[in-house]
């Protein structure tokens, strides 16, 4: 809690409709966010039990700086991933962090399974388990609307919910957070579904007095200035992350058509520039962020002859334009937005959905699967057929869709096509075919996300790729990011929040940490996650990279399989040794 030396944890037991609150002094040293959430996962997870078993927990946490400093906007969720079977972690912006803060909690632990579809209402004054039977089957938008109309508190509340994909336990279903943000990757939507938990609404008016207004507001203004008046974050407001499309295309790093290509002949047609000119209608922000990086694009759809149009707004980002655009060979911004809309309504993770569909397209062509399986004529560029397939995934309509609803890893076990399945560490590939550091980084990252350690950034900025340097970068960056994510600072603000700034902000609210404390925290988080993974049976021994990534040139030319394997070995050796030292040091 702000100004106190404990973490206030709300425990919710869905089975017995009971809640408990504990003030945990022992968790204080993990600060918040990923630190606290990983620790709570370690305590509450059940080894050897299915990730979708009711005894497995969902943890959501915020940090000490959440909402009260600029761009500290994320809430962190941890869970056992039904997608990889390993450590699951996902981050979401929106209003959730503010709402949890105002309700007076630092973390929420949810266990058990409701008897019937339920939505939770959490406020500073109450916790209610409400009937969601009528909402079961509703899409993301309708679910949000129903709760908005039933519950009080516009402006102060956060509404998070799942769609059909989560209900049907698709292992890459997401939780939608306040319409435009998500707990996206690794299948937390299915974990909600397995608990019969359709949605949650959180808000509060808890009194949060400021101990030292002068100190706090001075620091607040300094950081605010850095955020708004330097160019540290300008790109996120202007074109936003979609500016990457053109950049990556020009350096042969934009995965296209299931990575048969790393440049796209229609890149300009779906670039950030084109989106901005043709579709961008507004920008919005997470609470506490003066940047406004959430780009909302609009397209119109003719639903009847005689100029009958509807207009649809969805948020877009680089990863979405890649996974549901270039990777599927989609040629116009309007079509990309249409596919995004379908993925949104169903409640699926955009990256995994795109990668699975790209694989299916090639598998169909190669005859590994048939039209009877796909029920849609999947071919690159064919928007309407992809939209059908997305619905089929969410509904798990036949055996084929049931199988691919468990992710690409399961799909190739049954149908083959491993060589062109774009998987890194069991998770579908993110939108950068930049080279070795990215490939290694996404594979070894704690949650197999490109954001764990930003290998793509090393590839793009290095003058020369050096093996030792890649290993150093990937390890150090993941540790530094553990500090940022334990504080729930948006990673887009990583240039603003260097260590001195972080310490200043902490000190301004009475947390007197120093640089060594941060280093220790980074290590503890990094290895705690590894410990969790090991306990869940994780290992990278005998790991095999998909063949396709070596066949298509990156910005550094074609990657050499042997070299990447060697890098992986070097990484494992380094980290294992450090892990032993860390374990002994305890």
């Amino acid at each position: 809690m702000i100004g106190k030396d404990f973490i206030r944890v709300l425990y919710i037991d869905l089975t017995n409709k009971k809640a408990d609150i504990q003030e945990r002094k022992d968790l204080y040293k993990y600060l918040g966010g990923v630190g606290v959430a990983a620790k709570l996962l370690e305590e509450n997870m059940k080894k050897g039990v299915n990730p979708l078993h009711e005894r497995q927990p969902i943890i959501i946490s915020i940090g000490p700086l959440s909402t009260i400093f600029p761009v500290v906007t994320k809430a962190v969720a941890t869970f056992i991933s039904p997608h990889t079977g390993e450590y699951g972690e996902s981050h979401a912006g929106g209003r959730l962090a503010m709402a949890i803060r105002n309700a007076g909690y630092d973390a929420i632990v949810i266990t058990g399974k409701a008897q019937k579809p339920t939505y939770l209402v959490i406020t500073d004054k109450n916790i209610e388990f409400k009937d969601a039977r009528a909402m079961w089957g509703l899409d993301i938008e309708e679910t949000g609307r129903v709760i908005r109309e039933r519950e009080p508190g516009p402006g102060k509340r956060s509404i998070i919910r799942i769609g059909r994909a989560g209900e049907n336990l698709v292992t890459y279903s997401c939780v939608n957070v306040d319409t435009y943000r998500h707990f996206g990757r690794l299948g937390i939507g299915a974990v909600f579904g397995s608990k019969n938990l359709k949605a949650m609404m959180i808000m509060g008016e808890e009194d949060l007095p400021i101990a030292n207004l002068k100190e706090y507001f001075k620091t607040y203004q300094e950081i605010y200035k850095k955020v708004t008046q330097t160019d540290a974050m300008a790109k996120y407001h202007e074109l936003g992350t979609p500016m990457n499309i053109k950049v990556l295309n020009s350096i042969s790093s934009l995965p296209t058509k299931n990575l048969l290509q790393s440049t796209f002949e229609h890149a300009d047609d779906i670039s950030g520039e084109t989106f901005a000119e043709k579709n961008l209608v507004r920008k919005v922000s997470c609470v506490g962020c003066p940047i406004g990086c959430i780009h909302i694009g609009q397209f119109r759809r003719e639903f009847d002859k005689g100029f009958e149009y509807e207009s649809i707004s969805v948020s877009y980002d680089h990863e979405l334009i890649y996974a549901l655009g270039s990777l599927l060979g989609i040629k116009t911004t309007d079509e990309v937005l249409q596919i995004i809309e379908e993925v949104e309504l169903a409640g699926l993770d955009a990256i995994s959905t795109g990668v699975v569909l790209a694989w299916a397209t090639e598998a169909l062509k190669k005859g590994l699967i048939s039209r009877e399986d796909t029920l849609a004529n999947l071919e690159f560029g064919n928007t309407m057929e992809y939209i059908k397939a997305i619905d089929n995934i969410a509904d798990r309509i036949n055996e084929f869709y049931y199988t691919i609803g468990k992710g690409l890893k399961e799909a190739v076990k049954k149908y083959g096509g491993e060589e062109f399945a774009l998987l890194y560490g069991g998770n579908e590939m993110a939108g950068y075919h930049t080279g070795y550091a990215f490939a290694l980084g996404q594979t070894v990252g704690a949650r197999h996300s490109h954001l764990d350690n930003a290998g793509y950034s090393y590839d793009q900025s290095a003058k020369e790729l050096k093996d030792e340097e890649i290993i150093d970068y990937v390890i150090n960056e993941e540790k530094e990011r553990a500090i940022l994510t334990s504080l729930c600072i948006c990673l887009f603000a990583r240039k603003v929040y260097d260590r001195p700034t972080i310490l200043k902000a902490l000190n301004a609210i009475g947390i007197n940490w120093n640089d060594q404390d941060l280093t220790k925290l980074a290590n503890d988080i990094f290895f705690t996650k590894l410990k969790i993974k090991k306990e869940l049976g994780y290992s990278l021994e005998n790991y095999k990279f998909p063949k396709r990534i070596f066949e298509t040139p990156t910005m550094w030319g074609n990657m050499d399989e042997e070299r990447l394997n060697r890098l992986l070995k070097m990484y494992i050796e380094r980290v294992e040794k450090e892990y032993e030292d860390w374990s002994r040091g305890k």
Partner: protein, 136 residues
């Protein structure tokens, strides 16, 4: 000349709530947005436009008229000033303000009224808010 708060450019609003954070902090020494005098919300879900509920600085403030103890006094330029010691937390001002600008701070047992100080205006990154000079 006195100044009053205006929210004439809410179409530009990002929904960042920085204005509310600032008001709650500097005027009410609190991190909770519920303590802010300016209230930004959507007109119905995040797909709709943002709107701000602010004190429109009435020249004949109904809130002050409704106050039984004279805790709310007219402010030069419009709007009111709260004299905390006189407030008995009867909440009459809350229902008297038809734009819904006043709400209660139940922790401190006083209404939260806008001071037209302009702190929110200075921190809005998109210039949605402004201070307008008005006659007394």
């Amino acid at each position: 000349m006195p100044k009053v708060l205006r929210a004439d450019n809410m179409n530009k609003c990002l929904g960042c709530f920085t204005c509310m954070l600032t008001c709650a902090a500097v005027n009410h020494n609190n991190h909770n947005l519920a303590k802010s005098s300016i209230k930004v919300k959507t007109r119905g879900g995040l797909q709709s436009k943002f709107a701000a509920t602010i004190c429109v600085a009435c020249k004949e403030p109904a809130c002050a008229e409704a106050c039984p103890t004279n805790a709310l006094v007219k402010r030069p330029g419009g709007g009111v000033k709260l004299i905390e010691e006189k407030c008995i937390a009867c909440e009459k001002c809350v229902s008297a303000c038809i734009v819904g600008s006043i709400h209660m701070d139940y922790d401190r047992k006083i209404p939260i009224v806008c001071r037209h100080c302009g702190a929110c205006v200075r921190m809005c990154p998109h210039n949605c808010l402004s201070m307008e000079e008005v006659s007394e």
